[in-house]
Assembly symmetry: C2
Homo-oligomer: 396 residues x 2
């Protein structure tokens, strides 16, 4: 008796039971039947990943092109072209990068890959500097950029169409000023920067997640409440929530790292599911943190960092290779798809409006205040909780 049979029967239940209207001519035996809508969802996903992968192959056919333009830019450009075609054919913008897709499916493999293969010695040696940049640096960037843009508006350099108060600009500042791990990985790995610089900027981009999330939540709540209704306890709550989100996320990650280390001790007779377990439990860590509004990026980073030593010791050599290359492949695939979809999403002009003052002002202030923040920590090395970086390590 066949599984297939039982399921085929299940699948066919509906058409068999449909009432036959006696007036209509009875359909003969069909030789062909086109059932696009049944396979639509997985087909489209597979197709877009395929397009992105093929584009990657084409870009790398010529070494000249990729040495001149970073791959991520090429992918965004491809996305713009494809988005334009979709827009022309379908008359509306489709296949946009949805926040749900990004946070639930595309971001986790990238962060897991980077957490799992994080050079942990280098990371912990520079933890002080990383935390300084991630917490103090991010707060500094967000507030100064937001405040400066508000100043720009007060000075009348932003189109009067932009109706926003100081709180709105701070909200925008908290969004725009954080360093992002996807872009850092894409660019830094391609240009092969100094490893200390890499670990500091990359570590910051991972650890600032909690700060960004909290800052965004707090500013957003304040905007919703209106500045008049914000009370002193709300500021305290904001500070408390920074600790809850970051330490909570890290704790979730460590709990799952422990579970993973424990489970892989018992897989000697079922080696085949070892790679699966690693991905499943790390993903569960991410989703659990996301569900509780904790920092999911911190959770999966800590899970990867925490479990690696034990997992690698427990699982077989073949499982180790599979975990390593599958993780790299998934992360690379997610990154490729993100940049392509970013390009496609940028085509939808109904969402965007150009404002020279705001755009150029933002660009300038981000760079300016970031440089100022870094110069500060270098001029006052006593502010750093660890021995300061040798200046030679920071080339800008």
């Amino acid at each position: 008796m066949s599984l297939l049979a039982l399921l085929l029967a299940g699948a066919a239940e509906e058409p068999t039971q449909k009432p036959e209207s006696p007036g209509e001519p009875l359909p003969g035996l069909e030789l062909f039947r086109w059932q696009w809508h049944e396979v639509e969802a997985p087909y489209l996903v597979a197709l877009w990943i395929l397009v992105a992968s093929l584009a990657k192959i084409v870009f790398h056919l010529s070494r000249k092109v990729t040495s001149l333009v970073p791959e991520s830019c090429l992918l965004i450009l491809l996305g713009l072209v494809l988005g334009g075609i979709v827009l022309a054919v379908a008359k509306k913008a489709e296949y946009q990068l949805e926040p749900g897709t990004f946070f639930l499916f595309l971001l986790p493999p990238i962060v897991l890959d980077s957490g799992y293969f994080m050079p942990s010695r280098l990371f912990f040696d520079n933890l002080g500097a990383i935390l300084t940049y991630a917490v103090v640096g991010t707060l500094w960037n967000a507030f100064t950029t937001g405040a400066a843009l508000w100043g720009l508006q007060q000075a009348g350099l932003v189109a009067p169409r932009v109706q926003a108060g100081l709180l709105d600009f701070l909200l925008f500042g908290s969004l725009i000023s954080a360093v992002d791990p996807v872009a850092v990985l894409a660019v830094f790995e391609e240009v092969h920067v100094n490893e200390t610089l890499f670990i500091i900027v990359f570590g910051e981009s991972l650890l600032n997640d909690a700060v960004t999330v909290v800052l965004y939540k707090v500013c957003n709540s304040f905007v919703e409440m209106g500045s008049a209704n914000v009370q002193a306890t709300d500021y305290l709550k904001g500070v408390a929530s920074l600790f809850v989100v970051s330490l909570g996320g890290a704790a979730v990650g460590l709990v799952f790292a422990f579970l993973l280390a424990l489970t892989t001790r018992f897989t000697k007779r079922v080696r085949i599911i070892e790679p699966l377990l690693v991905f499943l439990l790390a993903y569960a860590a991410y989703l659990t943190a996301e569900m509780a509004s904790l920092s999911a990026i911190l959770a999966v980073t800590m899970c990867g960092l925490g479990c690696k030593k034990y997992v690698e010791a427990n699982i077989s050599h073949k499982s180790r290779t599979t975990v390593k290359y599958t993780m790299k492949t998934l992360a690379s695939c997610a990154e490729t798809v993100i940049f392509m979809l970013l390009g496609i999403s940028a085509v939808d002009s109904s969402k965007w409006a150009w404002d020279s003052g705001l755009v150029l002002g933002t660009l300038f202030f981000i760079l300016f205040f970031r440089a100022l923040g870094i110069a500060d920590t270098l001029c006052f090395p006593t502010l750093l909780p660890v021995p300061p970086l040798p200046a030679a390590h920071i080339p800008f």
Copy 2:
């Protein structure tokens, strides 16, 4: 500027824009927020796979248990228990094995794994026997089982509640008499049968897919049309559709195998996406065949069989290892989940009704006519298009 930021802004668009009703008390800053429904879908999938994987680990802790009871049976039993718990808690049957999930997500990795790692020499050496069993054998089993059950009903041995004519019984016969690859793999790999027996039964289970699909489609159409309306051309169409479905499916598979062999020639500089390409193109073959109502099982089997030599020669050693173990892991995971979900689905008693005559009759006739069919080919070896099997290879 951060990707994260742009997307966070997108995600928050809705709550920010919601109109505030002035009467309601304004919410203060929230420290915690539980967002289960946002992560529900991927969380549940991850959780069920995790449960199945952990169960597998537990079963294999004791070698005694798995040597007595096949793993697939243990998983079905586990499913029954879990299904019972779900039924008791939720008061309704949930997490059933849906045909869509089975055909789009669980079956493809299993068939790809078996097609890709098919011992091709052994397969082609026994192709005649395999085809005889897959086409003639399956037709024989379906018609005899269906007709015999109809005879049983005419003899009054089936509860009168079962209202069905000869065509309905033939439809049932076409469903129930085909050998199924998932079960063959699960059982035969565990008991380590003779390799010729394995390739014949397993090959049959893959190649009979086209026959089963066509037989089911034809019988189903005839039942819908009513036996009085079936015309001579419909029988011809049925025969033609057997060729369309099988050869069409195989052709789709070979086209994708060619594409895969071609694409992997150009991946020397982007080794990281090689494993992804293999899975994507094989899956695209499956979905394309499924979409055109061709035999998707044949398509992915032929794709795996056809591309392997070229792909293995083109991709790097590390990619080969990754492809191999990822394929095995995915297939094992899919198989595990299928058997567990089968158990869970069996709990829903509203779908089932016991009829001793029908159940025992079906069991008996399937075994009886299958044995008769095999005895036939052994007694009349000239019927086989290839030299007959040495009798020693067939232990029953």
